[in-house]
């Protein structure tokens, strides 16, 4: 049966990046459609009526929403190649935990780094670094979060790496000096073609964040 896969996405979204990587890891052909978030397509509104957000994965006409749920779905449908989650239930639970940790903590903290100033920004930077350090400790000396194989937690986190230069510029700090092992891990992930193809140029992201800051009256 032919597989029709469409991804409604927005190029700087670290959430969309997860789904792009997962699809490429499985060798799934998909149609990428760029959404203008200030003018959402009728298809987006129809396929994700509850949240009206990207990314939206449409597989043979049926939509799957929420990036981390999409990654699990992709792993379960195209289970024949490159498993993204460990098969052992305990290791799987650990992977799910850390992806959930990233989901719960990263978004708010990173936003404070580039979208606020003064005391609020300083507090945000501190929180952000603490979260990265916790993740760095979890990574330890392993090449990837699950060990030797690139997978679920790496996919959940790597998209944020393209935003690091923007955080550093507007937060006025160096992430590498605080978390060198995490930077080394990110560079290793970027050596994978599936990741390199799915992530935007960090310079473009800086430009995008600069536009947002202007819109919020920060510049």
């Amino acid at each position: 049966m032919a597989n029709e896969v469409i991804l409604l996405d927005f190029w700087p979204s670290m959430f969309g990046m997860r789904t792009r990587i997962a699809l490429r890891e499985k060798g799934v052909e998909f149609e990428y459609r760029e959404e203008d978030l200030r003018n959402k397509s009728p298809l987006l509104l129809q396929m994700n009526p509850v949240h009206k957000k990207i990314p939206v994965l449409i597989h043979n006409g049926k939509s799957v929403n929420e990036s981390i749920i999409q990654v699990q779905y992709i792993d379960e449908v195209w289970s024949h190649k490159n498993p993204l989650l460990p098969s052992d239930p305990y290791l799987k639970a650990q992977a799910r935990f850390w992806a959930d940790f990233i989901d719960k903590k990263m978004d708010d903290a990173q936003r404070k780094v580039w979208a606020t100033k003064g005391e609020e920004q300083e507090a945000g930077k501190k929180e952000f670094i603490e979260i990265l350090k916790t993740l760095e400790t979890e990574l330890g000396d392993k090449p990837y979060f699950a060990g030797d194989d690139f997978g679920y937690v790496d996919i959940a986190l790597i998209g944020y790496y393209t935003w690091f230069p923007a955080y550093e510029k507007y937060g006025n700090f160096s992430i590498e000096s605080e978390c060198p092992k995490l930077i080394a891990w990110a560079k290793k992930c970027l050596e994978r073609e599936t990741v390199a193809k799915s992530l935007p140029d960090p310079e473009k992201v800086i430009g995008f964040v600069s536009e947002l800051r202007k819109r919020f009256g920060l510049e």
Partner: protein
Amino acid sequence: MTTGEVKLIGAWASPFVMRPRIALNLKSVPYEFLQETFGSKSELLLKSNPAHKKIPVLLHADKPVCESNIIVEYIDETWSSSGPSVLPSHPYDRAMARFWAAYIDEKWFVSLRSFPKAQGEEETKAALAQLEEANAILEKAFIDCSKGKPFFNGDNIGYLDIALGCFLGWLRVTELTGGHKLLDEAKTPSLSKWAERFCNDPAVKPVMPETAKLAEFAKKIFAKPHA
């Protein structure tokens, strides 16, 4: 691997703790229930869940698993040959179950929780409207997921039933203290009937706290200072 002692760090009143308890009951897995004292956190809890310091924590042969819905999936996968399947088998149905469970935690429960905090008539009306909107969304989700069967998961309770059903005790308490019907048979008939069936399920009954006991507990922990 199913061998190894099972312990659950939790508290009788917590809806999140109820989730793994129901799953363990469905799989007929015996466990030691280690109850935390309200207002303090044990050394074991802090050691087992340093990232969040929250209950529930499942300890299987002393190895911790955290986050209630993740624990439920772990239980389903570890004791897969025992009892009914907690998650649906088809990847699309699994994705739907996970999507609605996330919606319940991020939107529905937040709406429920804001209701008792509302001050004055305007805020209460707004909170009620928000919860009613969320209920209407879940009513439709139930019809879509259940496909005519008694539960979100079909013939037996499963992941999504557990994800929502665990809040029914607190919902009833909020109805009592607020004096407003929050799960209305007229507005959400399918969900209301489902709620009855869920509470009567043999895996749920032993762990669902009595409304009166929960109301008394709520009074204690939400005690407001006299004006």
